[in-house]
């Protein structure tokens, strides 16, 4: 009798270990399978939120793209100076009235430039960003299995004369609609931020092509004391 009891207890304890072992596995491993969902509550509701899918439509998008040829209210973009960088059928040479060029705008422009432009153009704008470096690296490889059909045109340096002499409106248009191999960024960067980037690029160009006389006299005196690089200890 006692042997039977010991047997049963052993079996029960052993079986009881199995769920614990499964739980321990679930806690420590990653899984490709959809997560286990014990209590449904109303976690998944039959409604559509941003970027959800909807099988009712052929493309599966719950968010419907605007019908071609329509304009949403308030989006007519009548002001060609602000929206296109064009004044009287020529590239604008001034900033539109909606854009106030001040330090805040330049700071905003710098932050946005560093997000959207530096991957290719580099932080100083010489066309030597990390994506450019990586693309060159790939192309240097002679193995077609590595190159995988890549092509690459080095991004323009923003300090080339051809570009630094461009009117503001043309710069704005390049960011908006792209040029040559560069895609347009109208969808990624809102209108006001594109103008901020234009302002920052103008400042960046000036910074790389400045001479001593561009500085106010009182700051010129301080120049020799400014250290550009931190000296090693």
């Amino acid at each position: 009798m006692i042997k039977v009891v010991i047997f049963i207890v052993t079996v029960v304890i052993t079986v009881a270990m199995i769920p614990l072992a499964l739980a321990a596995t679930a806690r420590s491993m990653s899984t490709k399978k959809p997560r286990i969902h014990f209590v449904q509550d109303m976690d998944n509701q039959p409604k559509f939120r941003a970027q959800h899918s909807n099988d009712l439509f052929l493309d599966g998008r719950a968010m419907r793209p605007p019908v071609a040829g329509t304009v949403a209210r308030g989006n007519l973009k009548e002001d060609s100076h602000y929206n296109l960088g064009v004044v009287n059928d020529a590239w604008a040479t001034t900033f539109p009235a909606q854009v106030r060029v001040d330090m805040d705008l330049l700071q905003r422009g710098r932050a946005r430039f560093n997000i959207y432009c530096t991957p290719c153009h580099g932080y100083a704008g010489y066309g030597d960003g990390m994506v450019n470096k990586r693309a060159q690296e790939i192309l240097e490889n002679s193995d077609p299995a590595v190159v995988k059909g890549s092509t690459w045109v080095q991004p323009k340096s923003l300090h080339e004369q051809l570009i630094s002499e461009q009117p503001i409106g043309q710069l704005f248009n390049t960011i908006t609609n792209g040029v040559r191999t560069m895609s347009g960024y109208a969808a990624q960067i809102p209108l006001a931020d594109r103008w901020a980037i234009v302002a920052y690029v103008k400042a960046l160009q000036k910074s790389q092509d400045a001479n001593l006389n561009d500085l106010p006299a009182d700051q010129r005196r301080d120049l020799p004391t400014i250290k550009l690089f931190k000296e090693p200890n």
Binding site: A26, G60, P119, R134, K148, T151, T181, S183
Partner: protein
């Protein structure tokens, strides 16, 4: 039959332990790493190339949702780079047909929770707090439990989690490595306290903050 008695007494303890251990979101939710239609590597794009989170997830500062980028964003570079890669087939198909790439959602809150990305990143809660070191992930994996108790942990004690909003997308940022911050503040908690005051942040714990 004392052994049966012991087993009977142990059973509720066992059940309690099993449920709290095995049914916890750490067991059921953390570690989800689905296979995506395109094996996009955050480790290469973010970690190596240093592309800012906002280059692709560009709505994160102004909207509730940090949008999954449209195919066009990928094609900014991939009209040139890796034009013949079989890994990118789904991407090229999408570009040619206009059909979206069917990315699988990894971080998914219940539909009755209204999380707002912009409210967090603009106040200095870094992406890394909820998504982990994405810049080191080959494929995206859920690292945090994302359950309500876990949200509230931070809402009750944001010190040591909130930082300068300008550095939120710097996933590798550590207080210990930030010499400017360390010169002024003793601990990350003090540093957070400064930003909480500076930006006038007091995280709400009202039900209606997230459930509406």
């Amino acid at each position: 039959m004392p052994s049966v008695g012991i087993l009977g007494a142990a059973a509720p303890v066992y059940a309690f332990f099993l449920v709290s251990y095995g049914f916890s979101p750490i067991a059921t939710d953390v570690g989800y790493q689905p296979e995506q239609p395109v094996p996009y590597s955050h480790r290469i794009h973010v970690g190596q190339l240093g592309i800012d989170c906002r280059y692709c997830h560009n709505t994160v500062e102004v909207a509730a949702k940090a949008a999954i980028p449209p195919t066009q964003t990928c094609m900014n570079c991939h009209t040139q780079v890796y034009k013949e890669s079989i890994n990118l087939t789904a991407l090229f198909d999408s570009y040619a047909t206009g059909m979206p790439v069917k990315w699988k959602r990894v971080h998914d809150l219940p539909d009755y929770a209204y999380f707002n990305h912009s409210a967090h990143v603009n106040r200095g809660v870094s992406c890394v707090e909820c998504h982990g070191r994405v810049d080191k992930m080959e494929e995206i994996k859920q690292e945090k439990p994302l359950n309500m108790g876990w949200c509230l942990d931070c809402h009750r004690k944001p010190q040591g989690r909130v930082r300068d909003p300008l550095t939120v997308t710097d996933l590798g940022w550590r207080f210990e490595d930030d010499s400017a911050a360390k010169a002024q503040f003793k601990t990350f908690e003090d540093y957070s306290e400064f930003w909480l005051k500076h930006n006038n942040i007091s995280p709400s714990q009202d039900c209606s903050t997230c459930h509406r």
